[in-house]
């Protein structure tokens, strides 16, 4: 496994939609390198034959009746939105204008 570097962090920050300054990228690259180094031992112990656990107590087929249940009104759903119009969330432009 390779160490995490500043370019990786810049790319990951973009994927995670977090704008970062140069100083933040420098600092985070250093911190994450230490953390990644300390967690990589997990791959040493996890052999091919070990099944993965995604959920501590496996439950299957957790279903409910197919009827309208507990729902928020449009007004409730929009109550915490930074911007809304006509009963809908209002978002900035999706595409960049040229």
């Amino acid at each position: 496994m390779t160490a995490i570097n500043r370019d990786d962090v810049a790319h990951l920050a973009q994927l995670a939609h977090i704008q970062m300054t140069d100083a933040e990228l420098d600092r985070m690259a250093g911190e994450l390198a230490v953390i990644v180094d300390s967690v990589k031992s997990v791959s040493e112990v996890a052999g091919q034959d070990v099944p993965a656990t995604s959920h501590p107590i496996p439950l299957s087929n957790v279903l409910r009746e197919d009827v309208v249940g507990h729902v928020l009104t449009a007004e409730q759903a929009l109550s915490g939105a930074p911007d809304s119009a006509d009963g809908k969330f209002k978002v900035p432009a999706i595409l960049e204008e040229d």
Binding site: V9, A46, T53, P82, D83
Partner: protein
């Protein structure tokens, strides 16, 4: 007044039922205490005075009417409680300790909050936490840290330092916490209080703002083991709104806490979770607890869980991976903050980037980036996939250990409370605080922390942790209550009696005159 705030929830419930005191008096006494000491402790982010007093008045009115109204009151009706600000509440803001949710009001109640309302427990307010419950000290709260009532220059643990400090400072007899890697138990240990992480799924997570969904668990924070049992019975049980909720009833916990014997029980010391790396005073109090349990007729055995060595690594891959997904919803569109980029085109992508940059603190950003890394193509198998395998190995270790012992035991945290600021610049050192609590979350098993005494070197509280197999939470309450009573016999009363007097707003005012 002092007597009221120092009473356990069980004692308050008895006094209320006997009409020795009214719910309004009990609630007001706690609100007064908050007004007096919370300036110094900063356990609360929001105080819910009017609603709490209104609920208390309803309880008093029902009790005064008598008949069915009084008989139908829940045992804890009128006993006030604080709620960690990660759990959503109608009528109060929920911030998760983050700028991104500052001032946000949830349009719905968490299931546990609905249950508190059904039991008519006045909600005193919302308690401080590390942002989105990410931290072990509350220093990552966007609204300033909480201070440990034992020493205001020290951390109260985290992420639920606000709930633990509120209970330790007698601002509330009970509180709700959430525990993803130790956020209920570790604050309990460093503040000399009791905290329980129930079996995964025993308490509904609906309305707890998710960090890592396969690890998160809501649980009780209190000053006594019995009080925690009473509270878990209120909040536990099946919830169709949480698809990971277990169908087991949350009963038998109070009875277990009242059982009062451990004769013949096998209690296993986990070899990997004590000794090297644990502060001498923490280890000494731990050994005394073992002796007390032995003297009460329990058999102490040593068990080994070799894969716990990898638990911290697995946790710091699984938790950030899940957190990075769960926190993607904070996009500046649906709720909370929207920040605009200072220049360039105003597209949704750039608004999102600016919003998350302005709204999230350093630790949250760190974990989102780490999770995004662990889940990215090329690394997924080596990191996230391997961590999930380690999770299986740890579950197998616990299965083997519980074949030899009814309950496992360890110190809750390796050290007592450290100074505010001491580990803030060293994320890895901060993460190591949870080395003994994380395994229970990975395995989904229940864990309880109770005070084991004061460490000799610094006079600060240490904690002892009990672990039981999944769905056997009752065992924790049974053993915990016995150990608590043996320890209190030695101390001559609750450990918190030894805590220093807190500066109060009134006494500060006097001094400044």
């Amino acid at each position: 007044m002092t007597e009221l705030i120092k009473s356990s929830a069980a004692d308050l419930a008895a006094k209320l039922a006997a009409k020795e005191v009214s719910a309004v008096e009990v609630t007001q006494a706690h609100l007064d205490r908050i007004a007096a000491v919370d300036g110094a402790v900063h356990a609360f982010l929001h105080i819910n005075t009017d609603e709490a007093l209104a609920v208390a008045a309803e309880v008093d009115a029902a009790r005064a009417r008598g008949g069915a109204d009084a008989e139908n009151l829940h045992e804890l009706a009128g006993v006030p409680i604080a709620v960690k600000d990660l759990i959503v509440t109608i009528g109060q803001p929920t911030t998760a300790g983050s700028k991104i949710l500052e001032g946000w009001h949830s349009p719905y109640d968490a299931t546990v909050v609905k249950k508190l309302r059904a039991a008519r427990m006045p909600i005193l307010g919302k308690t401080n936490l590390d942002e989105f419950a990410m931290g072990s000290s509350t220093e990552h709260s966007a609204f300033g840290p909480t201070h440990n009532p034992w020493d205001l220059d020290r951390i109260p643990g985290g992420s639920g330092g606000g709930s633990a400090a509120a209970v330790a400072a007698f601002e509330a007899p009970l509180a709700l916490g959430t525990d993803t890697g130790g956020s209920i138990r570790q604050p309990g240990a460093v503040t000399g209080t009791v905290g329980v992480k129930p079996t995964y799924g025993a308490v509904s997570r609906y309305g707890a703002i998710a960090m890592a969904s396969s690890l998160d668990q809501i649980g009780p924070v209190s000053r006594t083991v019995l009080d925690a049992a009473l509270l878990q019975e209120v909040i536990g049980g099946h919830d169709p709104f949480d698809s990971t909720s277990l169908t087991d009833p949350s009963t038998g916990l109070v009875a277990a806490a009242r059982l009062g014997n451990v004769k013949g029980m096998k209690i296993g010391i986990i070899s990997e979770l004590h000794g090297e790396g644990y502060q001498a005073g923490v280890e000494a109090r731990f050994n005394e607890s073992l002796e007390l349990l032995r003297s009460a007729g329990a058999e102490i055995v040593e068990v080994s869980c070799p894969n716990l060595t990898y638990a911290l690594g697995a946790y710091y891959l699984i938790m950030p991976s899940e957190a990075s997904s769960n926190l993607a919803k904070f996009d500046g569109v649906r709720f909370g903050l929207r920040a605009l980029p200072t220049d360039g085109p105003m597209t949704i992508e750039r608004v999102m980037g600016a919003t998350r940059a302005a709204g999230f603190g350093d630790e949250v950003k760190r974990r989102i980036i780490l999770g995004t890394y662990a889940l990215s193509a090329g690394y997924y198998d080596a990191y996230y996939g391997s961590a999930q395998k380690v999770r299986t190995l740890i579950q197998r270790d616990f299965d083997a250990a519980f074949a030899q012992a009814d309950v496992l035991i360890s110190p809750t945290a390796p050290t007592t409370a450290f100074k505010l600021g001491e580990k803030l610049d060293d994320p890895l050192a901060m993460y190591l605080n949870d080395v003994a609590t994380i395994p229970a979350n990975l395995a989904g098993i229940p864990g309880l922390s109770l005070p084991s005494g004061l460490a000799d070197e610094d006079g600060l509280p240490a904690g002892v942790q009990l672990l039981a197999p999944a769905r056997q939470d009752a065992r924790l309450y049974r053993v915990g209550a016995v150990l608590e009573s043996l320890l209190e016999e030695q101390w001559g009363g609750p450990l918190l009696n030894k805590a220093p007097q807190l500066p109060t707003a009134a006494s500060n005012a006097k001094e400044s005159k």
